[in-house]
């Protein structure tokens, strides 16, 4: 270190006011006063080592750490690197009482060790106000490491002046400029312009920090968004700019064309696996601006099929506002189906050639096709186009991106009959796929589907039978004879037959006898399907329960499968309670778990089983504790255990959070008592499991839950906004059906 500037600090002092600071021209030396030699029984070397050990182990130190400050300062200065780092952390832990250590800690801001500098910054921030003056002096230190660390520390304490930030934004060292970006991110609107200019910093690391800064400091979107859009054109920075734009949500809609045009932008940071930042950003930004529609249409024929998919998805999000893109989408879809076929044929004889992307091209064409529906909402036009597309595709088309069929109204459904009645096998299968998605709404197509179920073509017949199952009980009478016939002909296995009958809720003496016999089938999956079918269709609950339990005891059926089937009889069939109590002691974890969960569904009727349940509150597995708490709440109305389990689950890892969200959702309206957990999770920055959270709010469905959904539907984040909007629509549809 050059020594043209001198800083002398008296280390042992009770407050910063008594520290003598002498600052000369341009460099820094910090002379630490010698520690007094007066013996102190509390600051023996053993105590210092015990303190360091406590810091390393994150244990509580059972003494007065402040007494050891001089020893710690000595270690910071003269200890080996690992010991010094711990001593720095120990001083930070003493907080403002360690003010006398500020000069020593300031020296460590020039350490060559990144972790040492980082620890010193943490300690100076923890000491607080008394670090500020010396740190401000160090903003002019010769050492760039020291300057960067000082900016970092002062920035964290919100003690960086705008003038200093402006000056240091032009510092020669990139670490200083990066620290300035971080400090600007905490400065609100005042910091935005400078952050935007740092996006052009020649050092990528600084520009990335500027993008991050604009991601967290969103106080001036009108200024920041155009600059971030510009930054997308800088190849290595594009991912960071798009990630920042994602947090502006729908306000960043003008960024959509740039994001797609520049695809791929680069891997999302800190993510194991390939997820391009463009995909993530577009999810949060949502539909593009109408002014960009024409430009987006030019990307529909992009040579990279991933860019085609992004363009199709973006246009689809516009809904009928994107209607003028329909012809371009149709043309692009047909061309892409043909391109896919061409590539497939080119590589037919080279099975493992990595250049064969025909499958992904086909998916791109499916996205383009689905988008035709989303921008038109014209069922006749869409189905007519689909017929043409099927010829180009030479294969059934699977539309689930998202499925147009989900949005078909009862009036739209009839148009699909053209596909089902078409002589083209691919059209028939595509039409049956539509029926599967529309479920009960496809009831007007029942006759056409029944005709296909009679088909001599086994694949069509099987698919049509599953489609009848999807339509459900309203198709039962017409479907049952054909389903039985196909089972007898061997088109369906007993397991498939049982599953179809479950969905149709069809019951006859013949099917009951078949399923009762099937409980003892050697094939476990067949026995399971028969148990489910019996429980779903039986009118003699007690007899059915006894048969299923007997099959479980005979081990032709797993207990877990038995519990799953028997859930259909709960809460009506209380004779199941002793069996469930028994299974709560099962050696198998998931059997135990499912038995506890099923018990809760009985509500107060299961009160005698509470003591057997309560022992599971101390189980070491969080899943068991959570399920037990939920069942106790259902049985006794006691929310305390569930409240406690939910609190720890939401504080814990991702896996537990998903379980917690599902648990609240399973309670339906009763989950309202735990709504605050969902709201907190939804408002957490970087929130995860948005769809699960919204689904849970929908499942609760109370006025309070609806209010949360309504507020969420106004979010700038398209993921939140769109999911909440769909959930509200579903709730209103359900209300309407209830009124009808």
């Amino acid at each position: 270190m050059g020594l043209s500037r001198e800083v002398a600090m008296q280390a042992r002092c009770d407050s910063w006011l008594t520290v003598v600071v002498a600052i000369a021209a341009s460099n820094a030396t910090i002379a630490v006063a010698q520690r007094p030699d007066a013996p102190n029984p509390e600051n023996s070397p053993e105590n210092v080592q015990r303190l360091l050990q406590a810091v390393a182990a994150d244990d509580v130190f059972d003494g007065d750490a402040a007494v050891l400050i001089p020893d710690l300062m000595e270690l910071v200065t003269r200890g080996d690197q690992r010991e010094s780092d711990l001593a720095i952390r120990a001083l930070g832990g003493i907080k403002s009482r360690a003010a006398q250590a500020v000069p020593v800690l300031c020296l460590k801001l020039d350490s060559s060790g990144h972790s040492t500098r980082s620890a010193a910054v943490d300690a100076l921030v923890a000491i607080g106000d008394q670090s500020v003056a010396p740190l401000q002096e160090l903003l002019r230190a010769d050492s760039p490491r020291t300057r960067a660390a000082a900016v970092q520390a002062l920035g964290r304490m919100d003690r960086m002046g705008l003038n200093d930030l402006e000056r240091l934004a032009g510092d020669a060292d990139p670490r200083v400029r990066a620290a300035v970006a971080t400090a600007l991110s905490r400065l609100g609107r005042l910091g935005v312009a400078r952050l935007a200019s740092l996006l052009r910093d020649p050092e990528l690391g600084v520009a990335v920090e500027a993008a991050r800064g604009l991601q967290s400091n969103r106080d001036d979107p009108d200024l920041a968004i155009p600059k971030l859009i510009e930054a997308i054109s800088r190849k290595e920075l594009a991912w960071a700019a798009a990630t920042a734009l994602a947090d502006y949500g729908i306000d960043a809609r003008r960024a959509v064309p740039a994001i797609i045009a520049t695809y791929p932008l680069g891997r999302t940071d800190r993510f194991f696996g390939w997820c391009d930042a463009a995909e993530k950003a577009l999810e949060h930004i949502g539909p593009p601006d109408e002014r960009d529609l024409e430009l987006l249409c030019t990307y529909l024929t992009h040579e990279d099929e991933e860019a085609q998919i992004l363009a199709a998805k973006s246009l689809a999000l516009m809904g009928t506002k994107g209607r003028s893109a329909a012809s371009a989408l149709e043309a692009a879809a047909q061309a892409t189906f043909r391109r896919s076929l061409g590539v497939q044929r080119e590589f037919e004889s080279a099975r493992y050639d990595y250049r064969d992307n025909s499958g992904r091209l086909f998916v791109a064409a499916e996205y383009l096709t689905a988008a035709v529906w989303h921008v038109t909402h014209d069922a006749d036009r869409f189905v007519a186009f689909l017929e043409r597309a099927l010829i180009a595709a030479e294969s059934p088309i699977d539309l689930s991106h998202p499925s147009p069929w989900d949005e078909f109204t009862a009036d739209d459904v009839r148009s699909i009959e053209r596909l089902l009645r078409s002589p083209n096998l691919d059209a028939q299968l595509t039409g049956l796929g539509a029926v599967d998605d529309m479920r009960a709404l496809a009831e007007p197509l029942r006759s056409a589907v029944v005709d296909l179920a009679r088909s001599a073509d086994v694949s069509v017949s099987r698919q049509a039978i599953w489609s009848l199952a999807a339509i459900g009980p309203t198709a039962a009478d017409e479907a049952a004879p054909i389903v039985l016939l196909k089972w007898r002909e061997g088109v369906l296995s007993l397991s498939e037959f049982a599953s179809v009958v479950s969905h149709l809720h069809y019951r006859s003496d013949e099917t009951q006898a078949l399923f009762e016999a099937g409980l003892n089938d050697r094939d476990r999956s067949t026995a399971k399907a028969c148990a489910r079918a019996l429980c779903a269709t039986s009118t003699q609950h007690e007899r059915t329960a006894a048969l299923v339990i007997a099959a479980a005891r005979m081990e032709t059926l797993d207990d877990r499968d038995a519990i799953e089937a028997l859930r259909a009889l709960i809460p009506a069939e209380e004779s199941l309670i002793p069996y469930l109590v028994e299974q709560m002691r099962s050696d198998d974890f998931w059997t135990r778990h499912d038995a506890i969960s099923a018990m809760g569904r009985f509500g107060r009727a299961a009160a005698p089983a509470t003591s057997a349940l309560q022992v599971n509150l101390n189980n070491e597995a969080a899943e068991i504790r959570l399920t037990t708490a939920k069942s106790l709440f259902q049985i006794l109305g006691d929310a305390s255990h569930l409240e406690q389990e939910l609190k720890s689950a939401f504080d814990d890892e991702a896996r537990d959070q998903v379980n917690a969200i599902e648990t609240v959702a399973e309670l339906g309206p009763a989950g309202n008592s735990f709504l605050h957990h969902l709201v907190a999770a939804l408002r957490t920055p970087g929130r995860m499991f948005v769809e699960d959270l919204i689904d849970a709010l929908q499942a609760i469905g109370t006025a309070e839950a609806v209010a949360v959904l309504e507020e969420t539907a106004t979010s700038k984040d398209w993921v939140l906004r769109s999911n909440a909007t769909v959930a509200l629509r579903k709730l209103r549809d359900a209300d309407r059906r209830g009124e009808d």
Binding site: A56, S112, V206, F272
Partner: protein, 444 residues
């Protein structure tokens, strides 16, 4: 076009293609395939045996009798080195006398072979009763229906002078085939298999291509720490790259990663992870270099922040680098080095100065092993790291310290040996010589 697809037990599919003349079959492809159904490996310093079970062997000619096998000859092609000069690919074509007017015809039945290569240039090991691992290297392979084979041998294990073309003896031994059913065979490659006399020949291994100094240093460091524990090679590579600055250093690392992405290379790419951790630091003080998701592990996730290792699984003490992590088994695909390079480009700055160790490696090891943070690791991690860190420290100063025994020692003996070495390192005043970029001591 012949295509040979070999599926091994773990589902990896290898495709070999050869442009063989298939005569009257015309344009129609002939599918040649064999599926591996499992393998076993037996090794001692004296011998090795590799056994593989093959199923669904299709498209090969019928296996001939022993007389035909004995008449096999090989037409060698000149050996080639890869761009880094580490692996020698040796190819050849096996043939047998043809029928009648036909001269020779390629070996077109399912046949395994072992390629032998002498370790010393010009030497002629006797392979009449198989190979000796002291003087010979090997690679096992299968012959295509065009009679062609290719073997890849790590010439870093030979005495090849990278700067010169040198003659090495090569030979070919046949694997033993047992036909277990119509389309299944067991193939046994065995170090005791004699090389066929007619195949033993001197071939010239070329000089390695010229590399930049930085690439050469990275290549030399590439076995650190698990193949060779001497961290001095790592220090030299880091220092050479440090002088290049960020962009050129990253471009060099990318070039190295690309050069080691081919067949034969595996753990060599890990050096990129260790160099990035030593050469770069996060541009932000509150950031950390992400832990590499590869089969090297130091478990500190459950430890309090102050006990964690910021360069996990490494540690650098006073500019002396050490690996604390140990190798583990893992499933799935390891993180590619490109991701660490990407991290460095996005979030890293090159260290301010070259590494200049400020203490002897043995004392640096003592700092780590005696630290409170080290004591927080679990017992297994501590045991593994203690052995490894001591070995690395010794390797960095081996020439300055007395030789250590290669015999297995119990814990007490190991401890005594280590204490003696630490004392000796103090006596020797071992220190870093920045000019020579090595540790030096008092003249003996």
């Amino acid at each position: 076009m012949f295509r040979i697809s070999l599926c091994n037990a773990s589902g990896i599919i290898l495709l070999l293609t050869s442009a063989a003349d298939i005569g009257d079959v015309g344009a129609e492809d002939v599918q040649v395939s064999a599926t591996s159904a499992g393998s076993s490996w037996h090794w001692t310093p004296d011998e090795w045996v590799y056994t593989e079970e093959y199923e669904e062997i299709q498209g090969y000619a019928q296996r001939p009798d022993d007389d035909v096998l004995q008449s096999m000859t090989v037409e060698w092609q000149p050996p080639e080195l890869d761009a880094l000069g580490n692996f020698c690919t040796v190819r050849g074509r096996l043939s047998v006398p043809g029928n009648g007017a036909e001269g020779r015809r390629p070996v077109d039945w399912f046949q395994g072979v072992t390629v032998y290569m002498a370790k010393t240039p010009g030497s002629k090991p006797d392979w009449s009763a198989g190979m000796n691992q002291v003087d010979t290297l090997d690679d096992t392979t299968l012959v295509s229906t065009a009679g062609e084979f290719a073997a890849v041998i790590d010439v870093r294990k030979t005495q090849h002078d990278r700067t010169l073309p040198e003659p090495f003896q090569f030979g070919l031994a046949l694997a033993q085939h047992t036909i277990t059913s119509k389309s299944n065979q067991q193939v046994v490659w065995d170090s005791k298999a004699p090389a066929m006399a007619a195949t033993v020949q001197m071939q010239t291994v070329p000089a390695a291509g010229r590399l930049s100094r930085e690439l050469e240093l990275i290549n030399r460091a590439s076995g650190w720490p698990f193949q060779h524990p001497n961290g001095v090679d790592l220090i030299r590579a880091v220092n050479a790259l440090q002088r290049l600055g960020k962009e050129r250093a990253l471009a060099t690392l990318e070039e190295y990663a690309e050069m080691t992405s081919g067949i034969g290379y595996f753990e060599e790419q890990e050096i990129v992870f260790w160099i990035v951790r030593t050469l770069f630091e996060p541009i932000r003080l509150d950031d950390r270099i992400p832990r590499p998701l590869i089969a090297v592990w130091l478990d500190d996730e459950e430890l309090p922040p102050s006990a964690r290792w910021p360069l996990n699984p490494m540690a650098v003490v006073d500019d002396v680098p050490f690996m604390l992590g140990h190798q583990v088994g893992m499933g799935g695909v390891p993180e590619p080095p490109a991701w660490q390079i990407e991290w460095a480009r996005r979030h890293g700055v090159v260290r301010d100065a070259p590494l200049k160790p400020a203490m002897s490696p043995l004392l640096a090891a003592e700092v780590i092993l005696g630290s409170h943070q080290f004591r927080q690791l679990d017992e297994y991690a501590r045991d593994e790291a203690t052995r490894s860190v001591r070995a690395q420290a010794y390797a960095m100063a081996a020439g300055l310290l007395p030789p250590i025994t290669t015999e297995r020692l119990d814990d007490t003996e190991e401890e005594i040996q280590w204490r003696n070495l630490v004392e000796e390192s103090a006596v020797q005043e071992i220190r870093w010589d920045a000019g020579r970029e090595e540790f030096v001591g008092k003249p003996r």
